[in-house]
């Protein structure tokens, strides 16, 4: 049934650090690779080498520019995959029961053998996290790499989502938000983790960490004092050499204040 569980035992999800993401799209590729070679229908491409290539991806990276008032613009790379919403509208609209949210860990999945490809769940998702595969005619979405995280055939360090494992910047973190002591809960608390479009009431599990504030032109510089000359007057042997050299003609690079 496409009823949502009233609560889930775990709330597995991702924290995505917008401060750290460098926009390399490595997570996009590792996600496509893992999910094409493993669980479910492969993620197809249409006209990959032709005009207007198109394909199914479960994770995509947008790039935005934020301009704070009176300050320099800042680029923010913005990876987006399913947020495994607690109040997932994509699940309740599904007529076949193909879409469901798991009671044990909160992961939102599609049972591809029941999906009729009506597309309604993609209409109901505010974030564009679901894509109808054009070759298979079934709905594809992030599985939170359910076939990795519990997979005892993989070495322990690989039992996390492919995108998290791949990220060279460490911008993606995987964990259980129901546990206040987990890495993701702590990061969210420390860094002010945000919900996307909270006004729509979807209660996303995944959180986004805002970019840290950048310094501005008017701020006191922390480093400038260290660049002050250590000694104003030259003394000792080096001082004597300096004086002798200054007497010679041809000094183009006169120090400021030197007579």
């Amino acid at each position: 049934m496409t009823d949502l569980p009233t609560s889930t035992d775990k709330k597995l999800g991702l924290v995505i650090d917008l401060d750290t993401c460098v926009g390399c799209h490595a997570c996009v590729i590792s996600c496509k690779g893992w999910n094409t070679e493993n669980y479910g229908a492969p993620l197809s491409d249409q006209r990959p080498y032709g005009e207007e290539p198109m394909g199914t991806f479960l994770n995509r990276v947008h790039s935005y520019e934020v301009t704070p008032k009176g300050q320099a613009a800042q680029t923010v790379h913005f990876p987006k995959s399913c947020l495994h919403c607690e109040n997932a509208p994509c699940v309740t609209v599904c007529p076949t029961g193909a879409s469901y949210k798991r009671k044990e860990d909160g992961i939102v999945l599609v049972n591809e053998s029941s999906c009729i490809g009506c597309g309604l769940c993609a209409w109901a998702c505010p974030y564009g996290a679901r894509e109808l595969d054009q070759a298979e005619g079934v709905m594809k979405k992030c599985t939170l790499c359910v076939d990795r995280i519990y997979n005892e055939n993989l070495p322990e360090e690989d039992r996390e989502p492919a995108c998290v494992r791949t990220c060279p910047a460490g911008a993606r973190h995987f964990g259980d938000f129901a546990d206040p002591e987990s890495n993701v809960s702590k990061l969210t608390a420390e860094r002010g983790g945000m919900d996307l479009m909270p006004e729509l009431g979807t209660a996303p599990v995944n959180k986004y960490l805002p970019p840290r504030p950048k310094d501005t032109w008017d701020d006191e510089s922390i480093l400038a004092p260290f660049l002050e000359p250590v000694a104003e007057e030259t003394a000792g042997f080096l001082g004597w050499i300096d004086k002798q050299l200054s007497r010679l003609p041809g000094d183009t690079n006169k120090m400021e204040g030197a007579e």
């Binding site: 917008l18 005009e51 947008h62 934020v66 490809g117 597309g119 005619g137």
Partner: protein, 290 residues
């Protein structure tokens, strides 16, 4: 939203078909025998053609039976269940009239109610979607139900009722458009809330994740269709209500009647095309579009 022809045909024809079934179900002195047969053929034809065409846009139509299972949560599933129930009940009612000349009034009323409930469930498939603020209003239900009973009255030859309803549906349509035009802004979602970055400054989409349109952009961002929206609205109103009203007040003749029906169908189809083409989905925000 991408205006998929199969969905437009479905919702227009089946809406009018079920509206017609509702009118036929509540007749106090219904036709019997062959006359009844022709009426019901038209009504069932419209409703069923609509339902069948709606399966054209499915990725896996062969699994369509599964869509009857989730009626507890899904409006799409409820629509399927109600449509089948309405068609079965009205089928029995019609068979009694056609083959036995018996009028089982209560069956007709139940069938009529189920037909209208089917239209209601159709409207809720769209009306429930918070992602498309233009649709996400009880007015969408009013719009679908009005269109359904208006078309039904017109096709089943209830001239005086149809005249009133034609004017009423034009009225509902204009209110729905007016409210819809500000719905997206009223909801308050923008790139600021979508990225969570709005508090720090103005946010602008700098680069898409991919170089050419993907499924999301093709399905949810349909900017071209909006270019002539105002003109199409006028055309839709004229065809849907204007022309039929004039043809109906003229002295009755069958050619005028037929023309009124065709013009109405074309008007409603134009309106339904705009219903999709003008609808802005929140996904568009992520692409810096609407």
């Amino acid at each position: 939203m991408h205006p998929a022809p199969s969905v437009i045909v479905f919702s227009v024809l089946s809406g009018i078909g079920f509206g017609m079934l509702a009118w036929l179900g509540i007749e106090s002195t219904p036709a019997t025998g062959m006359t009844a047969f022709w009426w019901y053929l038209v009504a069932f034809g419209l409703a069923v053609v609509g339902l069948v065409s709606s399966t054209f846009h499915l990725g896996h139509p062969e699994r369509a039976l599964k869509a009857f299972t989730q009626w507890r949560t899904s409006w799409l599933s409820r629509e399927g269940v109600c449509a089948v129930l309405a068609l079965c009940v009205m089928g029995l009612y019609a068979a009694a009239l056609i083959f036995m000349g018996t009028h089982i009034a209560i069956l007709g009323w139940i069938g009529a109610a189920l037909s209208l409930i089917t239209v209601y469930t159709t409207s809720m498939i769209y009306g429930q979607l918070a992602t498309i603020p233009r649709w996400n209003t009880p007015l969408t239900t009013v719009l679908f139900l009005t269109f359904s009973i208006t078309g039904g009255a017109l096709i089943s030859g209830r001239i005086s009722t149809a005249l009133v309803l034609l004017v009423a549906s034009a009225f509902v349509q204009v209110i729905w458009w007016k409210k819809g035009d500000t719905a997206f802004a009223d909801r308050g979602s923008d790139l600021g809330t979508a990225t969570g970055l709005g508090k720090r400054g103005t946010v602008r989409s700098m680069a898409h994740p991919h170089t050419s349109p993907n499924y999301l952009m093709r399905e949810f961002i349909h900017v071209i269709g909006r270019k002539h929206a105002q003109k199409l609205r006028v055309i839709s109103l004229v065809l849907m209500a204007g022309v039929p009203v004039v043809l109906l007040v003229l002295p009755f003749n069958h050619i005028f009647g037929l023309l009124a029906v065709l013009s109405h169908l074309a008007g409603v189809a134009t309106s339904r095309w705009l219903f999709f083409a003008e609808a802005e989905h929140t996904v568009g925000i992520y692409y810096g579009a609407r």
